[in-house]
Each structure stands twice: as C-alpha cells, then as structure tokens.
C-alpha cells in the first residue's frame, strides 16, 4: 500500500480567511485555517485526518473539493475526480428535490441525458447503498438520518469518483446507525477501488477505518503515519494528549485533577511550535518553527513535527 501511486498531493498549503475589514472593505485581520499542510493521498487508500474542533479539517476538505483556494502553496489533483460526503446529511440535501434527482445531481449538472435513463441509474445506486426503489420519489425529510447519509453517499458515487472526501460522515448519526454507514463505506471501497479521505474527530472511527492517519493541530499536520503505528506509538505530544483524552469502554474511571484547558485561537499564530504552550515536553528549541521529520521509532513513513520526539536530522 505504501508505494501505491499518488492520487492527490498538497504542498505547503496555507489558507486564511479575512474576518475583519476596514471601512473601505479591505481585510485587515485573518483567521489562519491552514498553515502549511503537506500531504499525499495514494490511490486506493483511506487516509484519516483527526484533530480537534477548529483545527482546519473542514477547510482542508473544502480545499480538496475546490471550494476554497489556497492562499499559498499548491494543490495537485493529478486528474483524480473527487466527491464529498458532508457531516450533516440533513442540510447537505436540498429539501425540495426528490431522492432520485438528489442522487443524480452530479451527473445532471454536466450532462442532459434522458430522465428515464438517469432514474434507472439512480435506482441502481440507491440499491447499492441500501435504499429501496420506492424511496426514489420521496423527499429527504421523510428519511432518518442514516438513510439521508446513504442518499448523500449514493450521490457521491453517481459521478464515479476516484476519491471521496468524507467530512465527519457519522458524527451526526447515532451509534447504531454509525456502524451501518461505516460498513457501507468499507464495502463500497472494496467494490469500487476508491480512495477515502476520512475527516473526523472521532479517534475510534479513524482507527477502525483508516490505513494512514494524519493528526492536525492548528492548521498543521503534526503527525502522520500508518494508523497502527500512530495509534500504537504516538510520537507527537499532542497526539498523546488526544489519545489519552478519548474516553474508552472498559477503561478505568477517570482520574486526575481537572485543569483549565484552552484550545488555541487561529487569529494570531504562535511563534515556534504551535503546541508549545500546552506541551509537557516543552524545552529549548520549541520556540523555533518545527519541521516534519521521521519519528523516533524508525517506522517508515511515520513522521511528526516535534524536535524532541524526532530523530535528529542533519539539516
């Protein structure tokens, strides 16, 4: 897997949004959503992206989909076609369209073929994602959340993409439905040789689904590597903190002294390592910007952005 050809690549991508403007309408303050993301998505793999709220996951998804343009850096689609499934199945489906039109929308945008043929195609897709043919003429409000997400998945499939970006595809769903959707995604991937970019803050989902994971913090990838390696031996102190905080079934009762935890803001980027202020390992050298480097455990492809936890590379 690790030497599969690259489908997408991002190189040092930055995205910032203007959040305030002076009286002539010129922006004078920004939200720095992505601050140098370098990433490859390989053909056929599932790449997980985890990170806390506001770290830029959705922005990354939007960037991949072309909804936002990088302010700096470059993004190479390499000819791959992409589709997306959003977090909220309710609002990502137009309430005034019947299911079959919703499913076929990506096709109908580009091609005007007979509606009968399109309907037939919709029926096939619907069946693949586990919807019944009689659902085709209903409207989204008549479905449960899980079914709506199925519709959204069918819609993503209709354009026959190479890569599907899944932005928190199950976090609006119930546990009992989450499993159904995750299974469906797994099946489809096997059937259609898709690549997934799975964005989530749910570590368990990422662990379950992904070949590789990238951990994001404040618009940067702080650690990346094969899912097994990262979860088994997190290198970056942030990854550790994250994994420790995830509640787990069967783990002992919570212990410890509550602290006042603040997530960093992205209006003013910190100097040096972004995690420095929360980091238990912070030492001299952290005030410098950190580069991605091979993690200390010498596993191929496991990199992190921490000079303490990385192999010292001669620069």
């Amino acid at each position: 897997m690790s030497n599969a050809p690259t489908a997408l690549s991002l190189d040092d991508v930055h995205v910032r949004f203007p959040v305030a403007a002076d009286w002539r309408g010129r922006p004078n303050r920004y939200a720095h959503a992505l601050n140098g993301v370098t990433l490859n998505v390989r053909k056929g793999e599932t790449l997980g992206i985890v990170g806390e709220s506001g770290c830029g996951k959705t922005t990354l998804a939007n960037l991949l989909m072309g909804l936002v343009k990088p302010t700096r850096g470059c993004f190479d689609r390499g000819g791959a076609s992409l589709q997306i499934v959003f977090q909220d199945p309710q609002s990502s489906l137009d309430p005034r369209l019947p299911v079959w039109k919703l499913i076929m929308e990506p096709v109908m945008v580009n091609r005007r073929s007979g509606s009968r043929a399109l309907r037939a195609q919709a029926a096939v897709l619907a069946q693949q994602v586990g919807l019944r043919p009689e659902h085709l003429d209903r409207y989204p409000h008549e479905f449960s959340g899980g079914q709506r997400q199925r519709i959204a998945i069918a819609r993503a499939l209709s354009a026959e993409p190479d890569v599907i970006v899944l932005d928190e595809p199950t976090s609006a769903l119930d546990i009992s439905v989450q499993a159904q959707i995750l299974n469906l995604l797994q099946e489809l991937r096997a059937e259609r040789l898709l690549s997934y970019v799975l964005i989530s803050h749910n570590v368990s989902v990422v662990r379950h689904m992904c070949d590789r994971v990238a951990v994001m913090y404040l618009g940067q990838i702080v650690e990346i590597g094969a899912a097994l390696d990262v979860f088994a031996a997190p290198a970056h102190p942030y990854t550790r903190l994250l994994l420790e905080s995830v509640p787990r079934i069967g783990a002992p009762f919570l212990e410890g002294v509550p602290q006042d935890t603040e997530l960093p803001g992205n209006r003013h980027l910190p100097q040096g390592c972004f995690f420095r202020s929360r980091c238990p390992l912070a030492t001299a050298g952290c005030e410098l910007p950190q580069a991605m480097a091979e993690a200390g455990d010498s596993v191929v492809g496991h990199k992190c952005r921490c000079h303490v936890r990385c192999k010292k590379e001669e620069r």
Binding site: H208, E244, V246, P247, F253, L254, G256, V257, Q259, E262
Partner: protein, 336 residues
C-alpha cells in the same frame, strides 16, 4: 447502593406525548428511573430516545400545553412534581435540582455578563446582596479551577471558550448545593481534551458535595468511565439498567449488546462492524410490543407482548426483554 434510603429522584412508569401535526409523538413510554443520594447515574440512548424529554419533565420545563402526560409520576426529593404549585416548583429549581445543557454556547444569556448571571441565581435562592453574591460567584469559579475568576465574571459568554462556558454552567449548577444535578449531554459539544477536563471537574465536585448526578449522554464510552449506574433508553422506554461495569461487560438486552458490539472500539480495524439493521421506530406510530422487536435478532412471537422491566437475579440489574442474552461478552480496551 442501598435502596431503602429515600431516592433523590424517582420516575415511575412515565408516559408522555406531544400532539403535533398529524398525530402524537409518544416521546416517553413508561420510563422508570431512580437516582439515589450522591449517586452518579447515566442515561444513555440514541438520538430521539427521550433522554432530554425525561430530564425536562423532571423539572417541568417542557412548554406548557405542548405535551400530555398519559400516566406515571415524577417524584423529586419526595415530592410529586406534577402536582406541585408554581411557586414551590420555582423554589426547587436551582436550589434542590440544577440542570446543565448541551450547548454551552446558547445556554447562557448572551448579553448579560457572567458575573451577573451567577449572581442572579445565587440571590434568587440565598438572601444575600449583590456584592456578596459576586464574591460568592468568584470563589465558586475559583473552585471550578478557573484561572482568573474576577476577570471571567466581567466577561460576556461569547468572549469565553466552550469549555469555559461549560465550567460556568457547572458553577451555576453547584451554586446552591443542589441534591440532584441533571446534566444533559454536557460534553457532547466539546472537544475530547476539554471533555476530559470537564468530566473530571463534574465528578470531583459531585463527590465533594454529595450531589447526585443524572448524566445524559449517547456516548457509551463516557458512561463507562463516569457513571456508577446506567439506564439504557430506546424509543422512550428504559431497555436495561444496572451498575455500569456489569452492564457493559455483560449486557442482557439485545439492544444494549448490539449497541456495544457496533462500536468501532470493540472491532478489529477494517473488519465489518456488527451493525444493527434498520432504524429507530417512528414515535408517532410505535409498533405493538417491544419497540426493538423489528431490529432484534432474537425477536419472536412473544415480543408482540411488551416485556416489563424485570429484575435479574441479585446484582441490581433489570432489563425489558423476553429473551435476554446470557453469554458474557467482555469488552476490553487495548493498552495504549
């Protein structure tokens, strides 16, 4: 847990419905639940299973006229909530029972400073002046491990982070030392790192002050690490209840069991998850009998009859099922 003692909260076979466009939504269908003194009780269930409605019913916070109680009683500190008069109810709210909500963003008044909101509640239940109330509020915030309480008091909610706001809600809740705290998904909107801190805080304070907590969530993992006892709800009814560890390690109800098995934590990465087929029933057209019947692998003719919440032998567990699972399933966390 002794059951002879007077419970803080006792809900008995509560059924409640909302009349709406085209029918009635039967949100609760015979919920029975009790919270003992100082106990931390979890209430888990999927979206729409009636957790919030239960919580709101306890404090009679549901909008008047929008709902109908079909049967059942709610007993709060020995008093029947539905027959209390308005004044007695107001006095109980906040003083005897406090509640915190899911969205810390909107649960506080956006245009009142934090200090005033705290003082409002303190003064409502204690005969103190405003200055005194602010002093109390400050020490309360310090208790919640807030670094600079004086500054925070002077801020508006929107100037604070989500975690901070939830701490303030918790401070608000503990401000009058209530006997019961109802926490409706207090950490769902928070990030895991923050969630951990908030849960720790909540637990510490509840233990410290002997406050009972009814903790509502849909996250099994949180429950397993946080609660003494747990109730599992489905379609407005309790499916199963019992001490957390026992219930999680050996669920008796097929629903609980399926729920736990469907979690990715418990599966082999990449392998299909044992998902529950179908979806939750429509509350305005509930089928006869067991509400889980249509999705249950072990359902049969008997399930058309609604199963009562029956006691298991001895360990304080109860479940509503004709065909409970017997085999022990052990869910173990992998070592980190």
């Amino acid at each position: 847990m002794t059951t002879t003692e007077q419970p803080v909260l006792e809900i008995d076979a509560l059924s409640l419905a909302f009349p709406v466009f085209k029918g009635r939504i039967k949100a609760l269908n015979g919920v029975s639940l009790r919270v003992g003194k100082g106990e931390i009780v979890g209430l888990v269930g999927e979206s729409g299973s009636g957790k919030s409605v239960t919580a709101m019913a306890v404090l009679r916070l549901l909008q008047q006229g929008s709902f109908q109680v079909d049967q059942g009683t709610v007993n709060l500190l020995g008093r029947d909530v539905f027959s209390l008069d308005e004044r007695a109810l107001l006095a109980m709210r906040g003083r005897d029972v406090a509640m915190i909500f899911q969205e810390p963003m909107t649960a506080l008044n956006p245009t009142r400073k934090v200090g005033r909101q705290l003082a409002d509640v303190i003064r409502l239940h204690q005969p103190v002046g405003r200055a005194q109330a602010l002093v109390q509020a400050e020490s309360l915030l310090r208790d919640m491990y807030i670094a600079d309480p004086a500054d925070v008091l002077n801020r508006y909610p929107f100037e604070l982070s989500g975690g901070m706001r939830q701490r303030i809600m918790i401070a608000l809740a503990f401000s009058c030392n209530p006997a019961l705290l109802i926490a409706d998904e207090p950490t769902t909107a928070l990030d895991v790192t923050v969630q951990r801190q908030v849960l720790l805080l909540l637990r510490e304070k509840a233990r410290e002050r002997g406050t009972a907590v009814l903790f509502i969530t849909h996250d099994m993992a949180v429950v397993s690490q946080f609660c003494d006892r747990v109730y599992v709800m489905y379609a407005g009814a309790v499916m199963e209840q019992g001490p957390t560890a026992a219930l999680i390690s050996a669920p008796a109800h097929p629903y609980t069991r399926a729920l736990l098995r469907g979690l990715p934590d418990n599966a082999q990465p990449g392998q299909p998850l044992p998902a529950i087929p179908g979806h939750a029933p429509d509350l305005s057209a509930l089928p006869q009998g067991c509400p889980f019947r249509e999705r249950c692998p072990s359902a049969d003719q008997q399930c058309v009859q609604r199963p009562p919440l029956q006691a298991d032998n001895g360990d304080g567990r109860r479940y509503a099922c004709w065909h409970p699972c017997s085999s022990q399933v052990t869910f173990m966390a992998e070592p980190v």
